[in-house]
Amino acid sequence: MSSDWLSALPERVHGLPVQRPAVTDIALPAGYTDAVPLVDPFEAYSFQSFRRTNPDGSVTYALPTDARHDNSNGVIHGGLLMTFADSVLGYCAWTACPPNTWCVTVSQSSSFLRAGRVGDLIEVTPVVTRATRSMIFTRGEFSVAGEPVFQAASIWKITGK
């Protein structure tokens, strides 16, 4: 299928070089507009995620799982889900960061509701639960075909430049 999303990736975002994904022959999932330009080497090594912006301004992310993500017997590894959560909850937290600041993960709570299967499309629309002067609280419910498989909540510390 189409890998047009690959050529559409920018060279840099937020002043950081965009990493070339380790696997590129991934089809753009239906209902999504573009690939997330991943700047973290561990993310580009582990997965490629996609996104769309919804009419209400929220962003929905999707991760097509593949053979890399197998824990055993075709079940998706929890480490992949936690890494995806750290990624998308981070994007969400950054929307609440004041200009000229960034934020780092202080804590993440991850709960595994049911096993995901390799090949599943994991989808999430993360939200900021609360933002204070120094901290941002985020959460996300991750689902496959509308069924929740995983949930994560994280706390971010705002760091000055």
Binding site: L16, P17, Q19, V39, D40, P41, F42, E43, Y45, S46, R68, H69, D70, N71, S72, H77, G78, G79, L80, M82, T83, F84, A85, D86, S87, V104, T105, V106, S107, Q108, S109, S110, S111, F112, A115
Partner: protein, 138 residues
């Protein structure tokens, strides 16, 4: 087994799938559960984030494996899976220096195992973690 001098007595834990893709978890078989520096992982450039620190997802994956290995020493061959994992990020880590891991069981019921542990590097705590594993079929 490993290229780092501090890892001379360590052996790799054989794992497949995503674990093997991420890298090799090492352990020192002479050490008992709960012992310091019982587990080790030598991170490389691919385990970093865009800021040059170890990625949080990598550290959570490592914690899941260190705690999970310790859990499976208590299950008499039965499979247990992570129900919840709480991870606190105390400091940033770097590539090229071993990340040390340890874990100990805090409580065991018929079907659940409660476990806690931490990851450290160069004498500094990177992460503390607590989790609950469910024994499948119990």
């Amino acid at each position: 087994m490993s290229s780092h001098p501090d890892l001379g007595t360590f052996q790799s834990i054989s794992m497949g799938g995503f674990n093997a893709y991420v890298g090799t978890l090492l352990h020192d078989p002479a050490k008992a559960a709960g012992a310091e520096r019982r587990f080790a992982f030598l991170p490389e450039a691919r385990h970093l984030n865009g800021g040059g620190a170890l990625h949080g997802g990598f550290l959570m994956t490592l914690a899941d494996n260190v705690l999970g290995f310790t859990v499976h020493e208590q299950t008499e061959g039965r499979i247990a899976s992570t129900v919840t994992l709480n991870t606190d990020f105390l400091a940033g880590g770097v590539a090229g220096s071993p990340v040390w891991g340890r874990a100990a069981i805090t409580r065991r019921t018929r079907s659940l195992i409660f476990v806690g542990g931490d990851l450290s590097q160069d004498g500094k705590l990177l992460m503390t973690a607590t989790g609950i594993w469910k024994i499948i079929g119990a």
